[in-house]
Symmetry: C2
Subunit: 315 residues, 2 copies
């Protein structure tokens, strides 16, 4: 197979052995792979791949067609359209995935869109629902709403019946965010003036959380899943105590195979039907050929884009 490989901080296309599925795995013939902030960190030498994942092939998500199935897998998966999050190795022509981690892609969805679904929607659903205990009627602040996870979170929170305030650095994508279901769209300097919120999904980090902690409702939850805008933030503990608020955070990547399977089962059950009905979808900013990985990473790092950045694989 061909794969994007990190060599001394550069991205090269290298020929590697096509993976063989273990007894409970499948191999996916990749059609599109998403780019995520973690890939850029990994390229810089931070955020190494977890044990069991390719050490130098980046990529946390892809979509494609199941091309090989492990001999202990009982479901008829061969040829199925799927997408998945993986510990690494997605930016290649073939990718190994545990069979129980597959998300089933609706027929009418394009490969580019499917390639950008798994990481963003799984992360957003886990953060809002599993960690954040979001229920209908609550008020949610999505901080950094214009990225992949942000646009997923706006759609999921809206679909679950929450009131969604989307926060972005500029007003550039406010109209698009409202079309995804945001009830209000604001910039960071406007956070302090909004009504109190029950849940903050923090995708940016310190600078935004500094503002958001001033608009917490009693029993509010702050779920931090992105710190690109700074990791160290001053928290007012007296405020946390008085409101009985909670600050938590997580990454999906470090979880066990079993924990990820639980998360994925929820996605297949609660989000895929909404995806099939086009109640949710993946906005695509731009897609590149696998060979254009360096260019694609540069584009991903730019501000101002809206939606996912993908690498296409023509097979």
């Amino acid at each position: 197979m061909q794969a994007v490989v990190i060599t001394d901080g550069n991205l090269e296309i290298v020929e590697r052995p096509t993976p063989e599925p273990g007894p409970y795995d499948v191999v996916v013939s990749v059609r599109a792979a998403g780019i995520n902030a973690a890939d850029l960190l990994q390229r810089q030498g931070f955020y190494p791949a977890p044990a069991g994942s390719p050490v130098d092939i980046p990529g946390l998500e892809m979509a494609g067609v199941v091309s090989a199935v492990g001999d202990r897998v009982t479901e008829p998966l061969l040829g199925r359209r799927v997408c998945a999050i993986v510990g690494g190795g997605a930016q290649a022509t073939h990718c190994l995935v545990p069979a129980e981690h597959l998300i089933f892609v609706p027929d009418d969805v394009s490969w580019a869109e499917a390639g950008g679904f798994a990481e963003a929607f799984t992360t957003a659903h886990d953060a809002l629902v599993t960690q954040g205990h979001l229920v209908a009627g609550e008020r949610v602040l999505v901080s950094g709403a214009n990225g992949g996870v942000g646009t997923a979170a706006v759609q999921i929170a809206h679909a679950l019946g929450a009131h969604v305030t989307a926060v972005t650095r500029t007003t550039q994508h406010h109209e698009q965010l409202r079309s995804l279901g945001a009830d209000a769209t604001i910039t960071l300097d406007e956070v302090s003036s909004i009504d109190r919120v029950d849940l903050v999904l923090e995708l940016v980090g310190a600078a935004n959380l500094s503002q958001a902690q001033n608009v917490l409702a009693p029993r509010a939850r702050i779920v931090v899943i992105g710190v690109g805008g700074g990791s160290r933030v001053e928290i007012d503990l007296r405020l946390i105590m008085g409101l009985r608020a909670t600050l938590t955070g997580s990454t999906l990547r470090a979880r066990s195979r079993e924990e990820k399977a639980d998360v994925i089962a929820q996605i297949n059950q609660s989000l895929v039907p909404r995806w099939t009905d086009r109640e949710i979808h993946v906005p695509v900013a731009r897609s590149f050929e696998l060979e254009e990985a360096t260019l694609a990473y540069e584009y991903f790092a730019e501000s101002g884009k809206f939606g996912k950045v993908l690498l296409r694989v023509d097979q």
Copy 2:
């Protein structure tokens, strides 16, 4: 009745009408009332009493004998030895308490000890078990272990089968803390060298939490219930995410009558039997007459004491 009353920041003994019980209340003839940090804040004009509590009579806990019972209370409570947390008004000869908030004091326990039980042990149990989800075998750091809540927390965590590390400013009370069940006793500068902990009970605030966040185990919980040592702390969000850690906090005082009743039911069920068996007890630093309230508050504010400070009521 006679009551300690805050007048322009001073404490005076003032004659006030003895409270009449509402239909679901009792009046307790007070024998001893504990002093807590909140009383000192209230005296300074911060932390006002919640709605329904006397606005100018401090005191969050007391013990005594039930001397009057509301006409809708069905249990035979008259004459029972009880203690309770209240929204305020405990530092008086009589105190109004919802009947469902009574903790039943074992026969052999002195009034001074009983007067210092409710706030510390209820707070510590709620923080460790309800908020902190402590289970047997986990490692707990009690930060500020030498105060009332701290000594309660060390005993409760030990009784529940946890490994307890007690952190204090000096080594002065380390031997006493080990006799209460602490497995290890350290000073703040030693925190960074201990094995990772599953639960941090933070009773001091910013300075201690800055250290404690460096020794968190995966899925650790930080429960903040005291900020006397500073409220604003810099938190490393990347650390919280990587460990899937949680920071939360609470005060008991602001909770609803129903919520407090749930907390108290747990105390009567799980802690009073251990108190009866002397598996847990209340270390008493010193007790004062009600008339010596000013002196008692000054003593409470001093560092270096060990255990609760009480006001005695001779009736």
